[in-house]
């Protein structure tokens, strides 16, 4: 293989699992064609294409607002043009693992809101369920349409040093990011048409159609022609672009709380022709803000009375209320056991090894090893309430030690996983950067997983944090059938 390629010639593989290179200069077979194409292109052409893409995304308004200056500057979510490739065989494994997991999580949610067998058989401690912030005891015994709780799931996967896929987190409430996946693909096709011609990349375009099918499928009383809407917090929400993108792609109305009104326990939207009944709501608002009469009283985003309409079975919500109990970070620890308990199977995708500080032995270990561990608070997300031991100060370690001792139920700890790396364009050169993967799973009449999903990349050198607020970007993710 030719190694004198300007593009990758200075590339360092490093002490990590590299998605593209098996070893310095040795390319994994599924990346070969990509390597050749980029070799032909050179950095200049690449740079030109990059500028074109950034401009396209800016004009399309695929942006978030920079709040720190008052000029209303808008930035795009950085998009790295070197795709991440997953060979079909590897993907099949991931897909089977995710399918198994979502089935188990849904069975768990049904169980936890009904018989609670898993608690009675002492697999999950009762205390863990009772103290979960997102557990909604008021929905005990409530039957959701088609018995599906998590309709849309965005599970975060990472790869360890040996390239094994591990589950980092189950996002079973309102996972976001899928619009980037779909937009990125459009952009890539426009900029690198030849690249697609050379690979057989599995298409992802039917996501919106599958999502719509699913939302229609879960309509109350099997209504064959339901009115489906998407409920958004509004244009100032950072994911608003995605909300409008999805509504547009599905051809459904996007509504804010004030567009809806509840009368006689039915939900209606206010139209120019009067009130129109709504049957299914794809809500992108957390439980807490959904209904000021039931949850947070100060919520301006929600719809008074909507929870009662839901309870009466006159409207369905996706995802269901109360799914948060399953993506509690403590509950995460028990998912492999759930899979065994409900399905009698071994988990296909393992968890990251996790310590629960509520267990005496684990707590002792964690307190002795804080500087080596990642410690997370149970109910926060987006990189908040988290300590990365090796990167933190002694003072911060001690703060978490106190917090753990004060409330052991609220913390979990994990060893630092050295995420896999992939080549990314950074300041004029190509360097390895850490990545993760968020596939999107739709659970309706059947289970559909978008081939690939969102690859997030930590563009800051050495960083393990892929969140957009902390210098993260995205990559195209290709599932490629090798021939």
């Amino acid at each position: 293989m030719n190694q004198s390629n300007a593009f990758f010639s200075n590339y360092e593989v490093g002490e990590f699992y590299d998605e593209m290179f098996e070893a310095p200069g040795v390319i994994r077979s599924h990346y070969r064609k990509l390597f050749e194409r980029f070799s032909e292109m050179g950095l200049d052409e690449f740079e030109r294409k990059r500028a074109l893409v950034d401009n396209t995304l800016l004009n399309q308004g695929v942006t978030f607002t920079v709040y720190s200056d008052n000029k209303g500057t808008e930035r795009i979510f950085p998009f790295d043009l070197i795709p991440r490739i997953i060979p079909a065989k590897e993907w099949d494994h991931v897909e089977r693992g995710l399918t198994q997991r979502i089935i188990a999580l849904n069975l768990f949610l049904h169980d936890i809101y009904h018989e609670q067998r898993i608690v009675k058989e002492k697999i999950v401690p009762e205390e863990v369920v009772r103290s979960a912030v997102h557990f909604r005891p008021e929905f005990m015994g409530f039957n959701v349409p088609k018995d599906i709780y998590i309709h849309i799931c965005g599970t975060d996967l990472i790869r360890d040093r040996d390239g094994n896929y591990l589950v980092l987190e189950d996002n079973g409430r309102c996972p976001s990011g899928v619009s980037y996946v779909l937009e990125n693909r459009q952009v890539m096709k426009r900029v690198f048409p030849k690249l697609f011609a050379r690979h057989s990349v599995r298409p992802i375009d039917d996501y919106a159609q599958e999502l719509l099918n699913l939302l229609r499928y879960v309509a109350p009383d099997g209504n064959p022609d339901p009115t489906v809407v998407l409920l958004t917090p509004g244009i100032y929400n950072s994911a608003y672009y995605e909300h409008s993108f999805l509504a547009r792609s599905m051809g459904i109305e996007i509504v804010v709380g004030q567009d809806l009104v509840v009368k006689n326990d039915c939900v209606y939207m206010k139209t120019t022709k009067g009130l129109k009944k709504v049957d299914v709501i794809y809500r992108r608002i957390d439980d807490d803000f959904l209904d000021p009469l039931v949850f947070r009283k100060d919520s301006m985003l929600g719809v008074p009375g909507i929870v009662n309409a839901y309870r009466k079975g006159n409207v369905n919500l996706a995802n269901a209320i109360g799914t948060g109990v399953a993506d509690d970070k403590v509950m995460y620890y028990f998912v492999p056991q759930m899979i065994k308990f409900y399905l009698g199977e071994e988990p296909i995708l393992p968890n990251v090894p996790t310590y629960l500080t509520m267990f005496d032995d684990d707590r002792k270990y964690v307190l002795d090893h804080i500087p080596e561990l990642v410690i997370k608070s149970a109910n926060e997300s987006g990189g908040y309430g988290m300590l990365i031991g090796p990167h933190a100060t002694h003072e911060q370690h001690e703060k978490f030690r106190d917090a753990i001792l004060k409330n052991p139920r609220n913390y979990v700890a994990q060893p630092v996983v050295q995420l896999s790396r992939a080549p990314a364009f950074c300041d004029g050169t190509i360097e390895g950067r850490h990545i993760d993967l968020r596939p999107y799973i739709l659970y309706g009449e059947k289970i559909t997983i978008i081939p690939g999903g969102l690859t997030r990349v930590a563009l800051r050198k050495g960083s393990l944090v892929v969140n957009s607020s902390q210098g993260g970007g995205s990559k195209e993710t290709w599932v490629v059938d090798e021939n």
């Binding site: 004009n59 399309q60 308004g61 209303g72 409008s244 009104v261 206010k270 139209t271 009469l293 008074p304």
Partner: protein, 330 residues
Amino acid sequence: MLSRVADSLYWLGRYVERAENNARILDVNLQLMLDFQDGSDMTEQRQWEPIIASLEDQKLFNSLSKQFTAETVCEFVTFERENPNSIYSCLARARENARTVREYISSEMWEQINRLYLFMNSDAARQECANSSIDFYRRFVDSSHQFLGITNATLTHGEGWHFLQVGKYLERADCTSRILDLKYHILLPSGEQVGGNVDTVQWMAVLKSCSALEAYRKISVGQVIPWKVAEFLILHDSFPRSIRFCIDGLDASLHRISGCDRAHFSNEAERLSGRLCSDLDYVTIDEIFKYGLHEYLDRIQLRLIEIAGAMHKTYCEWMEPEPALQTQAQ
């Protein structure tokens, strides 16, 4: 269609039109200035003060600037963020409305308005305006026309399109009436005799502000005569910026929204627009002058406000939360 979407489309139509009209007025006034430069502050003030007056923004302007110069007025009407009617502010609000109905309008429409906004918010826009302001305003008017063209060519001409039309025509009728009123006021304080070079050029400028000079020439050869200009801009039945034409389009769109035929009305907005339409169909320019041109234009502006209010009541009243629910929610 959601009431909120209808409302946003209506305002999208209005704000784009308002921004465009501001650009037109500035463009024409800048050109006029080239003809009447004597270097005195008085001339410059006389030239620019009425612009602020016609936009009804005197108070705010006075709080921000001391003098009426081409520079201060252009800055105020173009870029001033504190001026809610500046081109920048109108575009920002147009874009915000477009964003809330992003799933309803076409991607082409969104990209056009977004690009235009990003440009107006950039240093490049200030550069261009400083280098050649006339080109800058021309380009802006062109971009606005592109938006209208893209809208017509890419958006289904259904309910939402008609709400956009209503906003556009209401705003345009209002702007035409203001432009006319503005010049009438300066030139004919008591409806006296006119004539002379200056007047002709000024009246030509009025026509130009409405892109109407060429069209006017086609129907009226020879001297530009004030009363004929007024007649043209108020009563012409097919020139797209005349008040009558705008009200006709407005009334047609209102009727298409409800599905009621134009010989009848099904709500208050249609009744009011229908009546205004008939008035404009049958009134003569002599009657208007007898009534007083300024008074007549003022009356039209009031009637436009009434139509907008009635329309909001008919289609968007839902948007305000019901009092009972509101107290519950608190």
